[in-house]
């Protein structure tokens, strides 16, 4: 009897928690299909009376949302590809190649994690201004091409590769690039997937730096475009919810499809020290 009560309590709390976690997202989806002004009523409606795509049409035709969507996809994909390449190479070197000062250098990198990224943003803006990268896609991409976290993640994983495998290839006369490309990379596939999802999500959701470096609408990513729309259209809840759906849905779907890799990476990245 007591255990049945405990079971009901635990599952009841879990259902309550899931409702709180998901309700805002489901509400967003529902309101995005409502007629303009429909959500501003009492009692607040839960479902649209006559579902419409008008808000989405308005966003794509008049508010330039299509452009933001393409910008977000392009920027996030390029960041993912480049940072993946650079972090994989560096992480592998820290894990498996011997060179003077390896541990010291790695410790310096890990130590740099205590510095919040925002400290670098003001001079970085000036630097990019002098080399003409402010208000360009490159301005968002370039600083994100490598990350200490990514290098750390790859190093942790690559340390599990047996040394004999690499040594044997070296004795067979394979070049270092060949060893990396043909032996190491295939073994790093799981961490590549994990890191790719992490980089893509981080690039997609990033707000402060794109807000600073992208000054013209034509280069806006979705979060920046949405924030600026939200200031203009504060009263149009239906329109804004459609904008939020467009912004959130791609990453939410990516997460749902690749959940296992994402959560594994989260745990691998959090066992520092």
């Amino acid at each position: 009897m007591n255990s049945r009560l405990a079971k009901a309590l635990i599952n009841g709390l879990l259902i309550g928690g899931a409702v709180v976690a998901l309700f805002p997202l489901l509400w967003m989806l529902s309101v995005s299909f409502m007629q303009p002004g429909e959500a501003s009523a009492l009692p607040p409606p839960l479902l649209p009376v006559h579902a419409t795509l008008a808000n989405y049409r308005e966003l794509f035709v008049h508010a330039g949302m299509g452009r933001y969507l393409i910008n977000s996809f392009a920027i996030s994909s390029v960041i993912t590809a480049l940072s993946l390449a650079f972090n994989l190479m560096a992480g592998y070197a820290f894990a498996k190649l011997r060179f003077a000062g390896r541990e010291r250098l790695f410790q310096v990198l890990i130590g740099a994690l205590v510095i919040p990224a925002q400290v670098a943003m003001l001079p970085l803006f000036l630097l990019l201004k002098y080399i003409g990268m402010v208000n360009s896609y490159a301005g968002v991409v370039v600083p994100a091409m490598a990350s200490v976290f990514g290098i750390f993640l790859v190093r942790q994983y690559a340390r599990g590769i047996p040394d004999e495998l690499i040594e044997a290839a070296r004795i067979d006369g394979a070049s270092e690039w060949r060893i990396f490309g043909q032996i190491v990379l295939p073994l790093l596939k799981p961490i590549m997937v994990t890191l790719a999802i992490f980089s893509f999500l981080a690039a997609w959701n990033d707000f402060m730096w794109p807000l600073i470096v992208l000054t013209g609408q034509e280069h806006y990513t979705l979060p920046i475009g949405l924030a600026s729309l939200a200031r203009e259209h504060a009263q149009d809840s239906e329109l804004m919810m459609a904008g939020s759906v467009i912004t959130v849905l791609p990453v939410l779907l990516l997460f749902l499809a690749m959940q296992r890799y994402y959560l594994e990476g989260l745990l691998l990245g959090s066992v520092k020290g």
Binding site: N11, A120, M121, L126, V251, G273
Partner: protein
Amino acid sequence: MSSQRAAWLFLTPALVVLGVFFLLPVIAALALSLTDYDLYALANIHNLRFVALQNYWALLQRPLFWSALGHTVYFVAVGVPLSMSTSLGAALLLNSPLARCKPFFRTALFAPVVTTVVAVAVIWRYLFNTKYGMANFALGHAGIQAIDWLGDPRWAMPTIILFAVWKNFGYNMIIFLAGLQAIPADLYEAARIDGASVWRQCRHITLPMLGPTMLMVSILTVSGYFQLFAEPYVMTEGGPLQSTTSVLYLMYDEGFKWWNLGSASAVAFLLFLIMFAVTALMLKLARRGGEA
């Protein structure tokens, strides 16, 4: 090609990126904070003057800096414990052998973490709308008067804290869940044979075994919460009456609205120093607690 040379070739791209676009700017930020870099210097570099610690001195005398710091500390001091206890509670529920459909609940509770802050902050703005929002509608049913969530200086920060907890608790929940699953089952078995209650098992086995995880999670969460920016930017624009202006919000306004880049760099460095001191203090306290 020697292994040494190969190693450096593999490292070069990442190190160049981190060096040029992170390390160099950090050092430059320190230099910048000692100058009066502003709109005039931006137009013509000859207008730049070295002012030593004047930016810091001026900031420490500005009420706005202290209030921004106060709001940020409020957000951290209330938000982090609330966020971590929610994470721990959710992890304990998910770890219970009595829980059903665990994968579904885990995904559902984690979903807010991967969403875009700006987009979900926009949703919350409407859910907490004074007149038509769901929150006040639900409170009205319970007989509670409507609250001006984002328009009342007393309520704006608590609303942002609630939002941050909702958005972030899933992350630490996953870490706590892994920590809980790593606790050997025979410890609980032995305790049960000795007749320890569930509450005492929790206090004497679960919490001590989670200790190291707890320390790491709290340090990471504290540093994350100190970097409050997007939430007030979207939900309140720092208001009402600047009650949600955080330190980073101040840095952004100072640097990119008024173009006082020297003074903004000083803000950034002060924030860094404060975060560093708080982290060091937490580590020290944890070490002392561990010895006792």
